[in-house]
Symmetry: C2
Subunit: 140 residues, 2 copies
């Protein structure tokens, strides 16, 4: 039986999750990529290298993060949070977010060396989705 | 190091996968939901009950299916196939697809009883995305 999650249950799933699927719109087509994220005060924080995701989100900031806990095809929970893309550019806030991501993902490449590791000279992008709506479904 | 998957590698990941994340556009916002699917001849087949996913896809048929194999945050592959929503309405083809889904997911509720199990009187929807482009990324 499929049921709708309450907003609190959806928030709980988003808070517990570590890897989610970010949905955005790239040239009028839906686009989905996995991301590691930090959840804080109803915001999702992600850091990434410049690429299609960032280009698309700058052009159309509407985005969602979908997270699920799937036991099998018939026992699963899925939550989705909707928000708008906001780039974090303030140096102090960037540092705070990057520290938080490093704490959550200790093996994460430190910000200083991401550019080198990815073969890019561009600095990593830090962004947030401020979630204005959280919902979800579950089957058990 | 993040690298781009070839179209063949992306197809392989989509073929192996069982659960993917379907991306579509619902009222101008990206929307992502997990689905069990069947991959055949560069088409993805899904069956579902009427709901936001189907309503959105009927209004805007552009869709994608994202599938990943994640070992951890730093070792993962993600493929995405882009296609348009097509409802499968021919009775013979519906039966063939539903049989294929049942074969792949033996514990799947048989089509005849899905409506009853979901508490809905509406018949299940069978649809396909005919993928016109497959791409992906991997980090290892």
């Amino acid at each position: 039986m499929i049921k709708t999650l309450s907003s609190d249950d959806a928030r709980g799933l988003l808070e517990r999750g570590r890897i989610g699927r970010l949905g955005c719109i790239a040239e009028n087509e839906p686009y989905v990529v996995p991301v590691s994220y930090l959840f804080e005060d109803d915001c999702v924080y992600v850091h990434t290298m410049p690429g299609l995701k960032v280009t698309s989100l700058r052009a159309n900031p509407r985005a969602c993060l979908q997270v699920d806990e799937v036991r099998d095809e018939y026992h699963w929970k899925s939550a989705i949070g909707f928000g708008a893309y906001e780039e974090v550019t303030d140096p102090g806030e960037r540092e705070r977010v990057l520290d938080g991501l490093l704490e959550r993902f200790p093996r994460l490449t430190p910000a200083e060396s991401i550019s080198a590791a990815s073969g890019s000279l561009a600095p990593p992008i830090v962004f947030r989705l401020r979630l204005h709506r959280m919902t979800g479904l579950a089957e058990d």
